[in-house]
């Protein structure tokens, strides 16, 4: 029985050999204890990632640890996605008129986007977006790249107190431009607490990220001004 449970544990981690899946499906399907086991493993994951205490291993070899974890934030991103998904409200916004695709071109690309390669790219894009959003939320220095951008033409000024955010009336946000498009074809936005995160694709193949107290209308207006 423990052998089966160990396989369930490995399957939960995505570490089971695919040739063993069929056997496990049959066993789990008829055995409520095994179903419960799998569910509990997931529950433990929720508990670990929602718990107030951040767990850290203590006795790993420090040198190898340092090397392997040198890019730890990025590698954590996908596991951390669970946490971000618990706190963010996912929404899509698609009335950015210049990004509308006509039916013909949609049909033309539909076969292309169904290819395995395209799906992999799309999947990776989703993961990059998740990582990006996590950095926006968790890394205070990540959005500090806006000082060179002038938004006075749309009425926003640099906030003199911090030098990195833009303000106009009650609206206050930080901005960052990516040199990659994340595969975005339309505006995506998320609500986090009382702040918003907007990812707006630009015509030049870049993506602008806006984070703070700002409306969708202002976000799009700013993006259009950056395109000019």
């Amino acid at each position: 029985m423990n052998n089966i449970k160990e396989k369930i544990s490995a399957m939960y981690d995505g570490e089971l050999d695919s040739s063993e899946i069929d056997e496990l499906i049959e066993i789990v399907n008829i055995n409520k204890d095994m179903q419960k086991q799998l569910s509990l493993y997931s529950l433990i994951n929720v508990a670990v990632n929602q718990g107030s205490t951040k767990l850290k291993p203590k006795t790993v070899h420090k040198h190898s640890f340092k090397n392997i974890f040198s890019n730890v934030w990025f590698s954590n991103g996908l596991t951390a996605a669970a946490t971000v998904l618990l706190t963010l409200t996912f929404m899509n916004f698609s009335d950015f008129s210049r990004l509308n695709e006509n039916i013909d071109s949609t049909n033309q690309i539909s076969s292309a986007i169904n290819s395995k390669e395209a799906q992999l790219i799309a999947q990776r894009s989703e993961e990059y977006i998740t990582d990006h959003v996590m950095k926006v939320l968790n890394d205070p220095n990540y959005m500090n790249s806006s000082s060179q951008i002038d938004l006075r033409n749309v009425g926003f000024n640099i906030n003199t107190s911090d030098g990195i955010s833009f303000t106009k009336g009650k609206e206050k946000f930080q901005l960052r431009i990516e040199n990659k498009d994340f595969g975005l074809k339309k505006v995506r936005y998320w609500k986090h607490g009382n702040k918003m995160i907007y990812l707006v694709p630009l015509e030049n193949g870049k993506v602008v990220t806006l984070y703070g107290n700002i409306s969708i209308t202002s976000a799009i207006e700013i993006a259009k001004s950056l395109d000019r």
Partner: protein, 191 residues
């Protein structure tokens, strides 16, 4: 979530799309607690979160053929869950909605979920579980935390801890077993 996990999920989804209820059951058992926790963070009601979690998986089953795999499976499931939760919040002043699909018809054994999810997610148990994990034998704790908190693959953990992959797999399993035992003994019995 790492590549391997996507592969296994993809395999399960492919089988579920072909009508393999067992494969779907595994996906549901794997993701139900996370869906429940997501909805609960939005709705703040245990009973309604349970209803909506069940509705989510019924909808997932009904719409599975439309899942193209261009996002992680949980991301897709999560969107369904949150849309249901948002509709629930905005519809008729939080009036209780009934599941309009027969669970039996769908052949999804939702009844197999008992109150254990609620017990763990709703009270101080999160802290207790974390304290318990902290007290695990160091070798088990290290493997488990590297996997669950840091998202490391078994291969990476084996390299970090300089142990064979089979030992890593076994340690993570043993850690989980001890935690499950703790949850069942110390937490659900105290509810």
């Amino acid at each position: 979530m790492k590549e391997n996990s996507h592969d296994i999920d993809s395999e399960l989804i492919k089988k579920a799309k072909k009508g393999n209820h067992g494969a779907f059951n595994i996906l549901m058992n794997k993701y139900y607690p996370r869906v429940y926790a997501s909805i609960f963070s939005f709705i703040k009601s245990k009973e309604d979160s349970e209803d909506l979690s069940q509705q989510t998986f019924i909808k997932v089953w009904q719409q599975l053929h439309t899942f193209r795999g261009d996002s992680a499976f949980f991301t897709w499931v999560y969107r369904i869950a949150i849309n249901l939760a948002k509709n629930f919040v905005t519809s008729s002043g939080f009036k209780k909605q009934k599941i309009n699909t027969s669970i039996e018809d769908a052949e999804i054994d939702i009844s197999s979920f008992d109150d254990i999810e609620s017990a763990v997610i709703h009270n101080e148990s999160l802290k207790e579980i974390n304290n318990f994990i902290d007290s695990l034998p160091e070798s088990l704790k290290t493997a488990f935390v590297l996997r669950e908190s840091e998202g490391k693959s078994y291969e990476d953990i084996a390299a970090i801890t300089e142990t064979p992959i089979g030992t890593v797999r076994s340690r993570i399993f043993r850690a989980r077993e001890l935690i499950v035992e703790f949850i069942e003994k110390e937490i659900t019995n105290n509810e």
